[in-house]
Symmetry: C2
Subunit: 204 residues, 2 copies
DNA sequence: ACTTTGACTAATATATTAAAAAAGTCAGAA
DNA sequence: TTCTGACTTTTTTAATATATTAGTCAAAGT
């Protein structure tokens, strides 16, 4: 069992390398198999189809993301600083795995029902993480609001919205450069500062 | 001259009807000409090509939008209320002219250089409008910040980002229904409240 | 001169099909 | 239980013919 899981992980990691470099659409099961020096049926022994492998990849990336978020999370810090920290982590993953978003060539993998469900679940996990941040800040008396789940959703959607706006400014499928990401990060931090101040209890 | 301009306006209004109902890509110059009971070359007498007509349409819609914004703008109101008001207007236009965004079939009209330039100019006008709102609120002592142009840009991008997030939740090119827009409007208002509070001078 | 048009051409999109590539399967070997 | 070579099926791409649509022009109406 443990050996089997290890092989599964290896396949996922091989897939991640290809996906994050060439995009999901431009990566074939053969590519991945060749990279790992195994045959294609071996891949299909661990994953029933390509979609499952993609789901596995996405799960892995999100798990790594959440793990790092939790690892770097310091409850004693101010909300603002915690949010700054999460923004940095979020954007580093965003850049590293940007190509995962590019699915050109594939028949709308992100419109697939199972995929949508998975992504929704993962996004919900992220919302819960942010809700916890705000909830603790509330308990510490830093901020004040009736519904922190609601606030977390609003904050996260605003943040992601800003991200999209910054990416849209680039050409269609151009990779975001460091400069663009820095600008984006700054905007996200500015918004976070105003946002937390808008929820704060004390006079500024 | 005035007669010529009037005809131009009529063509634009005819085009708007078609565009906002079927989208730019699914509307032919013939369609527009037939609607107005004129020949196609008549259209080309007033507009050198389809692209110019589209630009004319977009200019007209933005002009109407800005006119209504200015008309409903009450400087004596609180920033928050002014923002609420602009959100309502913004979203009413967003819904009414949603199909203008759909350019399927056309060879990337929004990637065209002249079009990009025009859209950037119009978006900048909107930024200026919002900057003025924040600037006046600052003069009134409601809010405080060094760079109001910067704040306006951040606010507007967050707002537009939220819009995109809400629209993405729907299927690809599905038209946004009333319920979705209401939800979106509520989120925008919630963000605006927190945002203005985050810039406010006084203790809450 | 200013505006309009029927009849045209040129460019573009769509539909059709053939070829290539990739997904996915299976009997059997290690 | 894990893996593979050889296979089938499905999907994508490329090529080409067809149909639509953008755009032009000489000439006519106002």
């Amino acid at each position: 069992m443990i050996v089997a899981d290890k092989k599964r992980e290896q396949i996922i990691e091989g897939a991640i390398k290809r996906f994050s470099h060439f995009g999901i659409g431009k990566t074939t099961m053969n590519d991945i198999a060749e990279d790992l020096s195994v045959s294609k049926p071996s891949l299909y022994y661990y994953f029933p189809d390509k979609k499952s492998l993609i789901v596995g990849v996405i799960e892995k990336v999100f798990t790594d993301y959440f793990d790092l978020l939790k690892k770097k999370y310091n409850p004693d810090d101010t909300v603002e600083n915690i949010l700054f920290q999460t923004i940095e982590i979020r954007n580093s993953f965003f850049m590293k795995y940007f190509m995962l978003r590019i699915s050109e060539g594939l028949p709308d993998i992100f419109n697939d029902d199972a995929m949508k469900k998975k992504l929704t679940a993962l996004k919900d996990s992220e919302k819960v993480f942010y809700a916890d941040i705000f909830e603790r800040a509330k308990e510490k008396g830093e901020i004040k609001h009736e519904n922190m789940a609601h606030i977390a959703e609003l904050y996260l959607e605003s943040l992601m919205g800003l991200t999209n706006m910054c990416i849209m400014e680039l050409g269609k499928d151009l990779l975001p450069d460091k400069k663009t990401v820095n600008k984006m990060t700054q905007k996200q931090k500015d918004l976070s500062s105003i946002f937390t101040r808008g929820l704060s209890v004390n006079k500024h």
